[in-house]
């Protein structure tokens, strides 16, 4: 698939300026600039409800949120693919589309709600909802990305942590749920070395339960980090904003509870590509790390 003229961009709550994935947003902008990906942000997009919204809103209110985004995208950007960089935004949008297509009752409810603001969604007529990673893998191609690298990330060993929602239930076409390989290939495309057989590649970081059940969440993250160290990783890379936050920012808490000495950087794939394409450390938002990725900064500053 060739690169589209432009994509209808749905950044999501965490990828807003000075929100928790501010560093994602900045590095993503640098990456898109390097790769020539053009994004048109959906004006006045709203939150997808994320994986925790069910506790407050029922099925129809929750899915109406995503339906509003779909309808707005269509209104503003026509048939252009909706691209979300956040797994939760992506799957919530896709799930809303699936229910509209397969569940007449829910579809009726959603459209009744949308009618209040003069919008509608129709089965079979909605634009495609895609993950940013799909654009890289399917539309541009990892081989093409590898060819444009100017500063290969030589000597850096990285554990590719795919996590849950980028991988399930939809995943990237052609990848297995148990051992998806695209992130490893992306690491290698940037000239770094991927940890072979990273045991916790698709393990759960506890998602939103990190906030409500922190002890249980810490226990899961501990294993994800341990496996990365076991694989000899210098850092962890992830495509998911919540994974990044959970795995990076609780390391000192985990160290306190378990007596560990974790201090491993957790970066985004967008940061790898930005650096490999010669962007500065600041453009790649390396200053946005709580645990600084020294090896990447060194390469960026070379």
């Amino acid at each position: 698939m060739a690169k589209k003229e432009f994509y209808s961009f749905y950044p999501g709550c965490s990828s807003q300026p000075k929100a928790s994935a501010d560093n994602f947003l900045r590095s993503s902008n640098a990456m898109c600039d390097a790769l020539g990906i053009k994004l048109k942000e959906i004006d006045d997009w709203n939150c997808c409800g994320a994986s925790i919204g069910y506790a407050g809103g029922g099925e129809v209110p929750r899915l109406s949120l995503s339906a509003r985004n779909i309808a707005l995208s269509q209104q503003q950007n026509g048939d252009a693919d909706i691209v979300a960089p956040c797994a939760a935004c992506w799957i919530a949008t896709r799930e809303a589309q699936e229910r509209v297509e397969h569940n007449p009752k829910v579809s009726a409810g959603i459209n009744a709600a949308l009618a209040e603001i003069g919008l509608k969604v129709e089965s079979g007529k909605m634009p495609k909802a895609r993950h940013m990673v799909e654009v890289l893998v399917e539309d541009i191609g990892l081989d093409t990305i590898a060819k444009g690298v100017t500063k290969p990330l030589e000597g850096v060993k990285i554990a590719g942590y795919v996590g849950c929602q980028t991988n399930r239930p939809f995943g990237i076409a052609g990848e297995s749920f148990e051992n998806p390989l695209y992130l490893d290939h992306m690491i290698e495309a940037c000239g770094a070395q991927a940890v072979d057989k990273y045991e916790k590649k698709v393990a759960c970081c506890s998602g939103a339960l990190m906030f409500s059940e922190p002890e249980k969440g810490h226990a899961l993250v501990k294993e994800i980090i341990e496996a990365a160290y076991d694989g000899g990783a210098d850092m962890i890379v992830t495509p998911c904003q919540l994974c990044q936050m959970n795995v990076e920012s609780y390391q000192s808490n985990i160290n306190k509870t378990y007596g560990t000495k974790f201090n491993i950087p957790v970066v985004y794939y967008t940061q790898l590509i930005a650096v490999a394409y010669g962007k500065s450390a600041q453009e790649a938002a390396l200053d946005g790390q709580i645990i600084r990725a020294g090896k990447l900064e060194d390469i960026a500053n070379k």
Binding site: G58, P61, E95, R168, F211
Partner: protein
């Protein structure tokens, strides 16, 4: 027939299953579970479930309404979708768990002060109010979820993280006094109100 016998007759008569099918998100799939247990074995929080998903499905079929709806089990779902990916019968287990939790909460049967339930409500309220999540307000809300003094303790414990987030420009203290929000807030409110009305109209009454 004694009350006890009456209860026995009702057992396995699928009334609760019918209720779940009518009112719970993706509830029509519950009857298709074949009790293999792959979901339970695949769950990252598996050991923390009082009743793992396949057991909940069996309890639904056995008519154990109160036990199921008042259980903390489905609140353990991290939405990792591993059960969905692996279920040989293709049950949308994650969604059913969300649906059961949501339905239990709607009926007022969900456990009191269940932290995920409380947090989810704070999260939802934030969306409903601003159209977008205000991460800082959610965080503060979360700290004070279990009362003021616990909240202070939590806030102190989380201070280090908060500082780190601010230092890395990933949290803005000014968010608390405004921050990210949608423009058409009244439209979103109207939409959600309508959606909630629709849902309330389509709940089928059972039991009582």
């Amino acid at each position: 027939m004694s009350d006890m016998n009456q209860a026995m007759v009702e057992k396995y008569r699928s009334n609760f299953l019918k209720e779940v099918e009518a009112n719970v998100e993706e509830g029509t799939w519950v009857k298709m579970c074949m009790q293999c247990g792959v979901c339970s074995g695949s769950c990252p929080l598996g050991p923390h479930w009082e009743h793992p998903p396949q057991e909940l499905f069996m309890m639904i079929r056995a008519g154990k309404r109160e036990e199921v709806l008042s259980s903390s089990s489905m609140w353990m779902c991290t939405s990792c979708y591993n059960c969905i990916a692996r279920c040989p019968r293709g049950l949308p287990i994650t969604h059913i768990m969300h649906g059961l939790a949501s339905y239990a909460k709607r009926l007022g049967l969900a456990p009191n002060r269940q932290p995920t339930k409380e947090f989810g409500q704070i999260f939802w309220d934030s969306i409903a109010k601003n159209g977008r999540v205000n991460e800082l307000k959610i965080g503060v809300g979360l700290y004070f979820m279990n009362g003021f003094s616990q909240g202070i303790k939590n806030a102190l414990a989380g201070r280090e993280l908060g500082m780190a987030m601010m230092k890395s420009k990933r949290m803005n203290p000014m968010e608390y006094f405004g921050g990210h929000k949608c423009k058409d807030l009244s439209g979103i409110a109207k939409m959600l109100k309508k959606a909630e009305e629709f849902e309330a109209e389509h709940i089928t009454k059972f039991g009582e």
